[in-house]
């Protein structure tokens, strides 16, 4: 008796101690306001600070502050002059860019056209970002004078300017890259308003204002920015509430109301360029039958699923492109929830007794939830689906090889141009690893996508893209699922912050009040 009492007391003591120990960790004292840095938390740390060494959101968000592009894209995805003051299209293949003069890199070098040529050629050699610049002909890059450059594409490529605004095409300094060699990612040199001060890999990236920044109007208002990696979603919110950070990216659904209602916090919400979809492997039975795909579209109650999983953030997708992407077709008719119709279609397809299938997803709680609900709803048309949660690498390899049945994945149309949001996903030349993991093939879609890619006339392009979206809606290689939202939580004294739909928000406009 005495012994068990001791055990119980010891257990209670241990529990209390562990609670206290957990609570004590990582308290940072506030710095005085005058030199107060802006602390921004995101889910993971930057992987690289070399735009050609990887293509991930966490890195892009930091690199947006360090590097600049020839062309800028504002929050409405409009194209504006960046390092190029002006440009003109010489013929259907060639653009001529006039560079701004007197632009300094962080190492003191001046920006010239040869840096631009160097950057694009280097990007073309990168296995991570070559697809973004692949339209450019490496032999068509011509330095006319130190401030003028001609860039030619192999074939006409209408969305070229949008691609030149992608963070992967941020302009590098040739000398800095050559000198640093393999260590370049740790010593990035750009022309942006902030330069790298210190990087503790996996934890924080510290940036400091670049005093010789070329644009007076865009001179940063805050001396120092610290990017902090906080992987646990709930913890970012808590850190924001306690004042440990000033800005928290990627707030999750359950926390949105909490931040909205907190007196000292603000939610900044804007629809972004991401979409989540449930894809069918149309190269495989029974999903090669359009009626089966449509039946599943009818039986899946997407509005309910999105509401349950994303808790009122973002919106149910109407089509493959979100509302922020140019030429997004807002008149598509959603399938709606119609079990009778679904049963009818399954009967027509000779599958009224259903079949066995699997739904693949990666380790993303929302996607797992979608898979679980879908699994449940598919029982209504006798489809027995098994959910398989896979490791990311295996997931990508498997879906690229066409080993899957149904799968859940996302796509971000970073450039804001429908070419980026449709061509890789529905053109038959991109089957598998290229992005078309449904193995969808439709000659008419191919033709329209090819046409819109080369045609310079926006009206022709818009019409083609809208038609593609209609065909895709009818032929249903996807269940359109969710269009995402940028959900940023900020403290009340943070002003001048605006979400960028591509997710890499500018921070040089931000100031404290």
């Amino acid at each position: 008796m005495l012994k068990s009492k001791k055990i119980i007391i010891l257990t209670i003591f241990l529990l209390i101690f562990s609670l206290v120990a957990v609570g004590c960790s990582n308290q940072t004292a506030d710095a005085p306001t005058d030199s107060k840095p802006l602390i921004v938390a995101q889910r993971s740390d930057a992987v690289v600070l070399d735009p050609h060494a990887n293509n991930d959101q966490a890195s892009s968000r930091v690199m947006r502050q360090i590097y600049e592009n020839l062309v800028n894209q504002n929050e409405k995805m409009e194209l504006l002059p960046g390092l190029a003051e002006s440009w003109e299209q010489l013929d259907e293949l060639t653009y001529k860019f006039k560079l701004k003069q007197g632009v300094k890199f962080h190492n003191g070098e001046e920006l010239t056209a040869s840096d631009v040529a160097f950057t694009i050629k280097r990007a073309l050699d990168s296995s991570h970002v070559a697809h973004i610049v692949e339209a450019i002909n490496p032999n068509g890059i011509e330095v006319v004078d130190p401030y003028t450059i001609r860039i030619a594409t192999t074939e006409p490529f209408a969305p070229l300017l949008a691609h030149l605004a992608h963070t992967a095409t941020g302009i590098l300094n040739e000398k800095a890259v050559t000198e640093a060699g393999d260590d370049y990612s740790q010593t990035p040199v750009g022309t942006g308003p902030y330069k790298l001060l210190n990087w503790v890999v996996g934890e924080t990236v510290e940036l400091v204002k670049f005093e010789e920044y070329h644009d007076e109007a865009k001179m940063p208002k805050i001396e120092k920015i610290i990017f902090k990696a906080i992987s646990e979603d709930g913890n970012r919110t808590i850190e924001l509430e306690t004042g440990g950070i000033d800005i928290a990216y990627d707030i999750i659904g359950p926390d949105v109301d909490r931040i909205t209602n907190a007196p000292d916090l603000n939610m900044v919400r804007d629809m972004n360029l991401s979409t989540t979809y449930v894809g069918f492997n149309v190269g495989k039975e029974p999903f090669d039958d359009i009626r089966v795909r449509q039946a599943i579209n009818y039986v899946a109650d997407m509005d309910l699923i999105v509401d349950a999983v994303y808790l009122g953030t973002g919106e149910p997708s109407k089509g493959p492109l979100g509302p922020n992407v140019w030429a997004s077709n807002r008149n598509l008719q959603p399938y709606g929830h119609d079990v009778e119709k679904a049963k009818e279609l399954m009967k027509e397809a000779g599958l009224e007794n259903g079949f066995k299938t699997t739904i693949w997803t990666n380790q993303n709680q929302q996607r797992i939830d979608i898979a679980e609900i879908l699994q449940n709803q598919l029982k209504q048309i006798n489809i027995d689906a098994e959910v398989s949660v896979m490791e990311w690498g295996a997931y990508l390899t498997g879906t690229a090889a066409g080993e899957h049945d149904m799968f859940i994945l996302g796509w971000v149309t970073v450039t804001g141009d429908p070419d980026y949001g449709l061509y890789p996903l529905f053109h038959s030349s991109t089957h598998g690893d290229g992005g078309n993991r449904t193995f969808y093939t439709n000659e008419q879609v191919n033709e329209l996508l090819d046409l819109a890619r080369v045609n310079a006339d926006p009206a022709v392009r818009e019409a083609s893209y809208k038609e593609v979206q209609e065909i895709v809606r009818d032929e249903a290689p996807w269940i359109f699922t969710w269009t995402g939202e940028e959900l940023t939580g900020i403290r009340n004294n943070v002003k001048g912050f605006q979400n960028h739909p591509a997710g890499h928000h500018k921070l040089w406009t931000v100031y404290f009040e």
Binding site: S4, D255, R258, D307, I368, A371, E372, V387
Partner: protein
């Protein structure tokens, strides 16, 4: 001649009696330890819940209803409902099935494989012993959860693979324990006697050595079940374990943690279930160890 036979018979009877009374003695001592009896009681409850889950659970483990999500614990739903509107109490009951299955089967795999290896190593000694035990040392050098993660990553997630992974990861400790016991027993006189009457190695190991080395294996296995359940829950928490919608406690905890500030019950109850199970297995294991230790005879 006949005299000796009766003598041996008598001896056998008395040994049998003695063995039976030895386990009775253990049970008597175990009963005195209240903490371990509490542990045993909770474990029995869990086993009962796992076997009769179909009758105890008010609902199925995957009966979703998206219109009744996040209901707090109350009269309709004893432990509330989760983020997909499933009854948490039912899921925990069904979850006990998975946890106990993983716990016992993983330990079974580990004890049988590790025990065999350890017995061979201890009995034959020499190079064979050296080879087997150095292999075990290599396995021991890798943290067991890390080893389990790599095995699951290679085999793919799922109930069976989790059992195999957790089982393999805990082989070395059984091998060591069995080897140590075999070493102390194999030089004793009764083994020599068995050898003298011509028993083969297999018979000596299975009939004479292992029964006498049972006590530490039982203790290790009881505590091992707790470890295995915890490892499986850990694997599921990071998404490498049991596949949805199966109600693995670790996976339930992981799915519920996003909502913990608004709906505490989703993550709390599976967590409590894990804690209670591990706690009672450990209490019982500790009690068993004390009861089986002859030096603690009162």
């Amino acid at each position: 001649m006949s005299q000796t036979k009766t003598l041996i018979d008598k001896q056998a009877v008395s040994i049998n009696k003695k063995r039976r009374s030895q386990w009775l003695e253990v049970w008597r001592r175990l009963k005195k330890n209240k903490a371990s009896m509490v542990g045993l009681f909770i474990i029995s409850l869990l086993v009962f819940a796992a076997i009769f889950a179909d009758f105890i659970a008010p609902e199925g483990f995957d009966d979703q209803d998206l219109y009744r999500r996040f209901i707090p614990p109350g009269s309709n739903h004893f432990l509330g409902t989760d983020h997909l509107g499933r009854d948490i109490f039912s899921r925990i009951i069904y979850g006990s099935r998975i946890s106990l299955q993983v716990g016992f089967i993983a330990v079974g795999i580990a004890a049988v494989t590790g025990g065999t290896l350890g017995a061979i190593a201890g009995y034959y000694g020499g190079k064979l012993d050296n080879t087997i035990m150095r292999l075990m040392d290599i396995l021991l050098a890798i943290p067991s959860i890390l080893l389990a993660i790599s095995i699951v990553a290679a085999l793919g997630p799922g109930l069976v693979n989790v059992m195999i992974a957790v089982g393999i990861a805990s082989i070395p400790s059984y091998a060591r324990i069995v080897r140590a016991s075999v070493l102390t027993i194999k030089d004793q006189e009764f083994i020599e006697a068995a050898k003298a009457i011509g028993a083969n190695d297999f018979r000596i190991i299975t009939k004479h050595i292992l029964p006498n080395a049972m006590a530490p294996i039982i203790v290790q296995a009881t505590l091992g079940v707790a470890n295995a359940i915890l490892s499986a829950a850990g694997l599921s928490f990071i998404g490498l374990g049991i596949q949805p919608p199966n109600p693995e406690w670790g996976a339930m905890l992981s799915a519920g943690r996003h909502y913990i500030r608004d709906y505490w019950h989703i993550a709390t109850f599976p967590g409590l279930a894990i804690m209670l199970t591990i706690f009672s297995l450990n209490l019982f294991g500790d009690g068993l160890r004390d009861a089986l230790d002859p030096r603690l005879k009162d």
